[in-house]
Amino acid sequence: MKHFCFRHFFLFAVVFICFLPDVNAQEKTKFTISGYVKDASTGEYSIGANVYIKELLKGANSNQYGFYSITVEKGTYHLVVSYLGYENFIKEIVLDKDIRLNVDMRSEVITTQEVEVVSEKSDKNVSSTSVGSVKMDMEEIKKIPAFMGEVDVLKTIQLLPGVKSAGEGNTGFYVRGGGPDQNLILLDEAVVYNASHLLGFFSVFNGDAVKSITLIKGGMPAQYGGRLASVLDISMKEGNTKQYHAEGGIGVISSRLTVQGPIKKDTGSFIISGRRTYIDVLAKPFAKPDSPLKNSGYYFYDLNAKVNYRLSDKDRIFASGYFGRDKLNFEDNVAKFNLNVAWGNSTGVIRWNHLFNNKLFMNTSAIFSDYNFSFGAGQSGFEFKLYSGIRDWNAKVDFSYFPSIRHEIKFGANYIFHTFTPTSVSAKQGDVEFDFGKIRKDKAHEAAVYLSDDFDVSDKLRIHAGLRYSYFVQIGPFDRYIKDPINGQTSQIIHYTSNKKVKDYGGFEPRVNARYQLNSKSSVKASYTYNLQYIHLASLSAVALPTDTWVPCSQLVQPQKGTQYSLGYFRNFKENTYETSVEIYYKDLQNQIEYKDGSLPSTDINDNADNQFIFGKGQAYGAEFFIKKRLGRFNGWVGYTLSYTKRIFPELNLGKEFYAKYDRRHDVSLLGSYDLSKKWTFAAVWVYSTGNAITVPVAYYIIDGNFVTEYGDRNAFRMPAYHRLDLSATFTPDRNKKIERKKQRLIKRYQEQGKDVSTIEVPKKWSKNYESSWSFSVFNVYNRHNPYIVYFSNEGSIATGDYKAKAKQVYLFPILPSVTWNFKF
């Protein structure tokens, strides 16, 4: 089946490309206008700019590389390009031949003083076929109050309806009832397996290096696959092709610096961005000389880099990478105990954009992704090391074909070579090495082909139809541990040699989105998506942690299957100033995994982790309400989600259905920012969500003199609700006023000295392009003690007759003010 599909796909692609000129030749009455949409000041390509023919009220969006293509009948039209935060571009075009038109978009901020802005606001959320898709720009995100001054992409998307945080101190996020492993997180197309630093308090995405964020929580297009719940597609900035710039920030616990500029003006550019926390450095001077803290600490750092170069009008190459690490070390020289924990992601991407003709765009990528976790500890001659991780080598090719204004066709292929290191351990006491087995590397191939078309059926009905075929095969070397069902011991080990097939899976993944435009202001959208996911995240912990390990599908573990139906009503008000939507969804999940009751962490060593798994299914459904004010000095949104997320495992909870730990009945987020003046911007965020579903003890019993707890139904209890208010104020000094004040002082000095003021020369450095701002924020303004965990401790004694359990909660952050100085020049 695999060979059939791939052979036919490539045959199809070759035929498609070869015959395109003929297709053009046949359509003599139709001509194409195409090109790239860019930011005029930086040369950065604009993703998702709305390009349309005013007379036809039809058009297209620029793709991830800023490319657009529109083919219409011969004629004279007005081409309009709109992009949030930019002056609309309008140009009359006489389309009697194919036209290449690159559009430079000018920022509204720059142009409002001199040029009249033609304001035609986008109605994309109403007119597009995408359902459950949100695109955000970093400028929008930067206005939101940030925890300890660090602008955070993941924290921001968790304010959207349908997207939930697991709470402070948890990595990952949850989309429409899916687990954290069911989100496809892409940074410049490379998969990021753990997107959090410091257990979820910061994301790995440095705001200064990020250009745009697209979150797809339903109706996933066919070019994306391998995950059930969502796609978070993050594009890094390409770097300024016009001039050199540096920007950064100095905060209470971390600082960052970004440098960008042209390699060759208007042809190529680079950007490099770094960030590091320094809690460890700041804490050390306060530690006593004999304190373990003297040699201990925690920090994280990350580095983003990207270069791009235009080889010709049709070819462009990009190379980008990310490297980040969290490091925790502890050294007690008195107790002779040491501990080192490190985890992090690395990615590397090389891409080649090629324009075959004005209708066919291709991107080819070679991608490397790696996530690993390591732990080492030693005491009294005992040494212990643990390592786990996942590494991918990925090659993909994606085509965008724009045959007419009614169609946008995408097709492509993707191949990934996975190497999983589920959990490898070594330990020794003195010279004796314990047998934790050899370091395991589970290997697998994953591949997919897809085809999709976004097309108009009529003026009101537009359909996005896609089909993806995916295939996964686990290969050797691999040892399968067969367990004796009576005594649980390994009864047989089956060895698979290198590259020998262990188990394979495959299947078609159809997706359909439909939009029916009720009028220019409102539409109804529906979607159906079926996805397969061949990798699982296994967690023994009650919360998502970097220790969670990725495991492949195997003989025992079937692919996760997800089917999602969603229906939405979208309406804009006041010339698209306000966007509103109501979406309902239902999701069915099959082949979900959990560890067996009573599984202990060591049980996947010298064994297959999947021998400890049990399998079940889940369902999620809910309704999402969203009101957003896009434009004006005051903007923000209100989101509310009502949702239910359930799981059923025959071997858990006596086979009874239970709520997933991240089930939230109610989830509210309010976000607003107000530009009081050019100097001051204020913002506020308030969030509320129903407490996590947890399993709590219901009874005590005595064993060996100890009271142990007997647990009640799984996740049958709710932690107290989570809610929090954050405020921020950003002060941006008016540089022109400052220069003017300096100039006045200079004039005064000249006058006092009797000099001719007309001979004043303003120093050049005064007028240099330099900006700075102060960001003040207060996290958790009303000091809410939001529960991080709830546990029970025992008080009193049996002898005195007052032995009783007492519930306690641990909370992490009280009210936390912070200040960050940001600069740009």
Partner: protein, 287 residues
């Protein structure tokens, strides 16, 4: 081992966290019988029968005591009817004690308990004892008079063995006490010859009335005479004790899923019926 990792990450979290009391109304506990039975080579069976107690209530000893149970132990030939006795040296002072059936290595024993109108059964086997090669006391730096009990074990080749460690100070402890993680199997040590150490466990009953001095907590003194009891246990007994010890450890640990203790009692009861193949050693203070 992963617990250590979780604990170290937990320590990072707790550097920045605060704890406070909250009011939670936990309901839903079903009344259950708890059985803690053992039979050791050379000794008759001991069985403690109690009830669980709802978390929402203060524990009342009178409600958890079961004094009218019928307890039988059989080796397949002889059936012993156990008699309720007071034993101030046991972990719980009321113990059903046997006399006719004496534990022997490689023998299987059947337990029947009738209590609260229900019948509970279980089976266990006493594995062949494995003796430690040697035992000794070793100071734990930087201390020079406090340390751990060390032992050398030559683990017999062949997977499937499991062990439980107990220790008792000659003068200070009423009974043999297991420290945390005292149960282990030979998954990683099969056929190995190696040194290992245990800290001193604490008797929860002693702890309730007379908390130990902090400095000595978890250590043996250089002057202590320490008796070591090292037992082999079968698969299901090991499963119970490893999950029991994990449950003790995870109680209140935010990073762990709740651990359900895997019981080998049939009929809806909680607890364990375990066979112990034990050998004994003594650590004497240096002369």
């Amino acid at each position: 081992m992963k617990k250590l990792i979780l604990c170290s990450i937990a320590s990072l979290m707790f550097l920045i966290s605060c704890t406070e009391d909250i009011n939670l109304n936990v309901v839903g506990a079903e009344k259950k019988i708890v059985i803690e039975g053992s039979i050791e080579n050379g000794h008759p069976a001991n069985v403690i029968v109690t009830r669980n107690s709802p978390l929402s209530q203060t524990i009342d000893v009178n409600t958890i005591l079961v004094t009218d149970a019928k307890v039988y132990v059989s080796n397949g030939v002889i059936t012993d009817t156990l008699v309720l006795s007071i034993d101030s040296f046991a972990s719980f002072p009321l113990v059903y004690k046997g006399s006719l059936v004496i534990g022997a290595p490689q023998q299987t024993y059947y337990l029947t308990v009738i209590a609260d109108g229900k019948t509970f059964t279980s089976i266990t086997t006493i594995p062949a004892p494995v003796e430690l090669d040697s035992v000794w006391w070793q100071a734990q730096p930087p201390r020079d008079s406090l340390g751990y009990a060390w032992a050398h074990l030559s683990e017999p080749a062949g997977y499937g063995n499991a062990y439980k460690w107990f220790a008792k100070r000659a003068t200070a402890d009423r009974r043999f006490i297991s420290p945390y993680a005292s149960s282990f199997d030979d998954k990683f040590i099969d056929g190995k010859s190696f040194d290992f150490a245990y800290n001193r466990g604490t008797d929860p009953n002693d702890q309730a009335t007379a908390p130990p001095e902090k400095e000595e907590d978890g250590f043996f003194k250089i002057t202590d005479t320490v008796y070591i009891k090292f037992c082999t246990i079968d698969y299901y007994t090991a499963k119970f004790y490893t999950t029991y010890e994990a449950a003790l450890q995870t109680n209140g640990n935010p990073f762990s899923s709740p651990v359900s203790i895997i019981s080998n009692i049939n009929g809806g009861g909680l607890g364990v019926w375990g066979g112990f193949g034990c050998s004994y050693d003594t650590i004497l203070p240096p002369q």
